[in-house]
């Protein structure tokens, strides 16, 4: 059974200044005690408490929406769930295959052709070159890119890039899917198609975590929501309750 569990997860981000990033300053600070104090004041590395004491357990069938303002920690939480940032404290427990689509341009090599990017992204998702290549006809048809796929991606318009990235990202069928705010770019015709494709993908996964600012997207895809504020979970409940509470935030 797929399972995604966070147990008292804390994440702190060090904020490095140019000084804090310099090994020269660090070494100088170790020499001479008089100078040392002065430099150390400069070198203090500030940390931002990005996530504080987050516990959440997701089972098969859970579709969790993350709600919160910019900077509330939604994206960081998604990256912790994806195994990208390791919690400074606390535990993450994952059972089942997991894929995250947090930034669609990931794995897009601007110099490479559309075809090559399809293969590259497939390899990142754990496919062999052959498996990745077998996706090409389907992606070519869905994106309506046709012969343009033989051209380097840097020659594409933004809309074309989004179409390709979206199609390539959504060919996977993981047990646990992590999505960050994705629909929005492209023309109306594409948004309709993208919604249908996303529906298809989401309904095939066992656990979904989705961060979004759009109430309609949250209502459509989620059956549970977390209200995040300042790195903490304020409320864990139904989508309606969380959205109502979100409205009340000062």
């Amino acid at each position: 059974m797929p399972l995604l569990q966070l147990d008292h997860v804390h994440v702190d981000f060090p904020l490095y200044t140019a000084r804090g990033r310099s090994i020269k300053n660090r070494v100088l600070a170790q020499l001479g005690s008089k100078v040392r104090q002065k430099i150390e004041e400069h070198n203090q590395i500030a940390t931002v408490h990005s996530l504080r004491d987050i516990s959440v357990t997701l089972h098969d069938g859970d579709r969790l929406g993350l709600v919160g303002r910019n900077g509330a920690g939604k994206s960081t939480l998604l990256r912790v769930m994806s195994g990208i940032y390791e919690p400074v404290l606390g535990n993450l427990h994952v059972q089942g295959s997991l894929a995250s689509i947090t930034d669609m341009s990931m794995g897009m090599d601007m110099e490479a052709t559309g075809y090559e990017n399809i293969v590259l992204r497939g390899v990142f998702l754990g496919q062999s070159h052959g498996q990745a290549r077998s996706r090409i006809p389907e992606i070519a048809e869905w994106t309506e890119l046709g012969d343009a796929l033989a051209r380097p991606v840097r020659t594409y318009s933004t809309g074309m890039q989004v179409r390709l990235a979206f199609a390539v990202s959504t060919t996977i069928r993981p047990d646990i899917l992590i999505l960050d705010e994705m629909i929005g770019a492209g023309d109306a015709h594409f948004i309709e198609k993208a919604r249908a494709r996303l529906n298809d993908l989401v309904s095939s996964t066992s656990i979904l975590v989705l961060a979004s600012h759009s109430e309609s997207v949250l209502r459509q895809f989620c059956n549970r929501a977390l209200l995040m504020h300042d790195g903490q979970v304020l409320l864990d409940g139904s989508v309606e309750d969380v959205l109502a509470e979100y409205e009340k935030l000062p």
Partner: protein, 278 residues
Amino acid sequence: MRATELSTVTAGSRLSRSLRAAWIDAGMAISGWRIWTTLAWNDITQRYRRSMLGPFWLTLSTAIFVGALGWLYAGLMHMEIKNYLPFIAVGYVVWGLQSSFMGDAGNCFPSAEGYLKQVNISKIGVVLRMVLRNFIIFLHNAVVIVAVMLIFQLLPGPYFWLIIPSLLLNIWFGVALALPLGMICTRFRDLSQMIASLISVLFFVTPIFWNPATASKALVAVSEVNPFSSFIATFRDPLLGYPIHVHDWIVAITCSAVMSIVAAAFFVRFRSRIMYWV
């Protein structure tokens, strides 16, 4: 305050957790070999894409450098070009491999930021991508060695097959050095520049264009404490049929082994911080 209290509670299990996570990362590098090999290959094809010569531009510049320096120094040091040019060609190409590992180590993680922040991929794989890319470039440069040996009608020495274990040692050491170096350079961004200047100094104190057999005592002493002279010698001596010194092999194997332990310890300790540094 709460955070610090918690950390002391979990401190006991922290080492075993770090060890397991490092082990998993190494496993991911093996099972996900397609990711780093594809990325390394992409790095190479990208160089081909904009120019037909691609990485052979590097070969060309290597050839020019070796040819010019060989001719110049053969004259200055009163050496026969037939003996000197092959010496410098092999030394310079192998040095190119080692120095590219060192020089590119710092940029491994920052340049992969786009991937690292989107998918959980092996951190060791990121280093292996750089090592493989530079090995492929080395193979391009090896054309210069072949050309020089053909021009001077040199036959490989009787133990020339030793260049295979020598290459493996060179690559092994490259990985073991680049992993911790890449991590430190990601944390301290001014270190890469320091390494760049260190590389150019190392070039002069490594027997690449001067032969320890004919050099002054001071230079010989320097070359003896400089492990890179041994790494280069393990390749150059068997290929060109020079006498083989067991000493060089012992130094190369010992350095690789020691560096591996350092790299492993470093990786276990700081692996989880890489993502916060990039």
